[in-house]
Symmetry: C2
């Protein structure tokens, strides 16, 4: 089986590999056995379980591992305290010990939930990520952030826990609904916008190959994972540079919050797409980058079928003040000041702390008028 | 205020101090301010809140910090998923941010629960331990183990999360009920039995001063913290030597499990006391140490008012097979083999993996007959 590989050189025995290629779902058993595990608890959602559950089970059993499948309902609501407790208790019932593996099979929700369960079960068991969405392959399965939601906000409860291995089966994206594919693509484009202008050029030329499942797909996933891995290795706990990965997310998270995380209205990647376009237009307004570059960003995202304006949120985004309030609830807020990721151009993003509420309000008001 | 101090030299910016002395409860505010916190969420139980809650609040407010008190019901039942979720949500309501502090004020239950909440709130906020029982001062507040219970067993869910500071107010032990004092003393004696025969001699001569609140108390707490800190620094994640701290605990945990963690029947330290006596008698039976030394261990524990035999468990301990089954559920079990901490003499403990069930069963049967 040919595949691409990205090494994540974390210290303290926590280095791991991300393998990228078609058909890797069937390699889970051999890889788990190579890690010395005797048993695996597969955490997934009901949709993904129906597609890949039995293939992974067969792969694990063929490699001589005991295994059990724990399927939660699909969707963000499964990142709850109750679901977390249920998953942990099921993993204990399956007698998953410290040398065994928790396997996260699915998208970002499953990865976050399974990762947090793995981080805290017996104070930490090893886990293996098998991301099955584009978003999870390029973003949430790299970096070790795990967590669940509180009634007070998303991802407010969690842990840093690195996987032992990531198997990104790009063939799994063939069955992904178009909207999820587009949403994941917003994160792909983000890596170009943060610090890699050449990759953004490449995306403009090659994005259709990513969607259709050509070799561009594997290449794009590998480039994104490599970019994210580099940032994570340099700043694992998000004391600095890692915050750049939040380009587009300050606005995006606020929009998700205001639409009550109703995926019928807005999914994470769509919020990020609008957020990316807003971050560049806000940067242009502050005189940091040209309006032409901001336009190029929005055009490309729109070309890929993504929303780029507040008005694109079905049912509306709320007024400027509501968006500001929703941003202020972000867990990256320190002492009440707003921190944005802004850009001096495509591939030239930077952390801008202490942005005044008035500047943001005026910008949002103009956006809502426009 | 004069106090003793133990430094815990962990790497990666995680080194911290344990201050030991009378009246340190009133130093919480100044210490929290020195750490740069703007707010503190005090997690405690209702009993301890009534004794020290307002003193700590006054201390924090005087130092200019916002604070809130979160009091859970006293007892092991508060180490539940539901209580954990409630504590996290209250800390979020109190707007505890990453630079702020969670303060654990109380015994082991509160320390474990508050520590786990601190470890996972916003993927980790700093925390400060103010242990108010002897057990917590010498054991659970050092080492960074935090956690809650699952219906499948104690401490099966948790994280390693080091405090930023421990303030062990030895005057708080003046109000401790005698039984809790004795239970904590089992862990004090344990440090002598593990690797410090001189300290065990000292305990035999000075234990009454520890109970009565003389200078021996502060000295004993400091010696125990120093011993535990040394082990933790050398083996933080319990891959090796740290397991020695479980001397007496394999038997002890099984007895706690069999008495359903009903503190009316057996508290943790009492289980440990019986476990210490059993570990030495089992070692003697295996020809590892003399029967005379095993007798000396049991005599001293009994002198301090602690139970030392299976028959001392009110309502009985169950038969040998039940005890074996309860031991097999321990989270330190790997591949089903039983690992014990045994001793070649007082202060000469070692890790003994792969002990056969038959040897243990025969020993327990004799103990139950005896």
């Amino acid at each position: 089986m040919s595949h691409l590989s990205v090494h994540v050189p974390l210290d303290g025995g926590r280095a791991y590999d991300i393998l990228i290629g078609r058909g890797l779902v069937d390699a889970v058993g051999a890889q788990a056995a190579a890690l010395g595990a005797k048993a695996a608890g597969i955490v997934t959602d009901e949709t993904v379980a129906a597609l890949y559950g039995e293939r992974i089970r067969a792969s694990l059993e063929q490699a001589g591992l005991r295994c059990g499948i724990i399927a939660v309902p699909p969707g963000e609501a499964s990142k709850s305290y109750a679901c977390y407790a249920a998953v942990c208790d099921r993993l204990l019932e399956l007698r998953i010990e410290r040398g065994d593996l928790v396997v996260a099979l699915g998208g970002g929700v499953v990865g976050d939930l399974a990762g947090f369960a793995a981080a805290t079960l017996r104070r930490g068991v090893r886990f293996l990520q098998v991301p099955t969405t584009l978003l999870a392959q390029v973003d949430s399965s790299v970096g070790g952030k795990t967590g669940i939601n509180s009634p007070h906000g998303k991802n407010l409860i969690g842990a840093f826990h690195q996987p032992r291995l990531v198997l990104a089966d790009t063939a799994a994206l063939d069955t992904l609904v178009e909207r999820e594919m587009r949403a994941g693509y917003a994160e792909v484009a983000k890596y170009g916008l943060i610090a890699d202008p050449g990759f953004f050029d490449w995306c403009e030329a090659n994005w259709r190959g990513i969607f259709s499942g050509g070799p561009e797909r594997d290449e794009a996933v590998a480039i994104c994972c490599r970019a994210k891995a580099g940032v994570v290795v340099r700043d694992e706990r998000e004391d600095g540079e890692r915050a750049l990965l939040n380009l587009g997310h300050t606005f995006g998270h606020a929009l998700e919050r205001l639409t009550h995380y109703e995926s019928a209205r807005l999914v994470h990647g769509e919020g990020v797409a609008i957020g990316l376009a807003l971050a560049f237009r806000f940067s242009a307004r502050l005189g940091l980058c040209s309006g032409q570059e901001a336009g190029r960003v929005a055009n490309h995202l729109a070309m890929a079928g993504l929303p780029t304006r507040l008005q694109d949120v079905p049912g509306g985004s709320g007024d400027a003040e509501s968006i500001l309030d929703a941003m202020a609830q972000d867990k990256k807020v320190r002492d009440g000041a707003l921190t944005f990721i802004l850009a001096r151009g495509i591939g030239q993003s930077f952390i801008a702390p202490g942005i005044g509420r008035d500047d943001v309000r005026a910008f949002l008001q103009d956006e809502l008028r426009g």
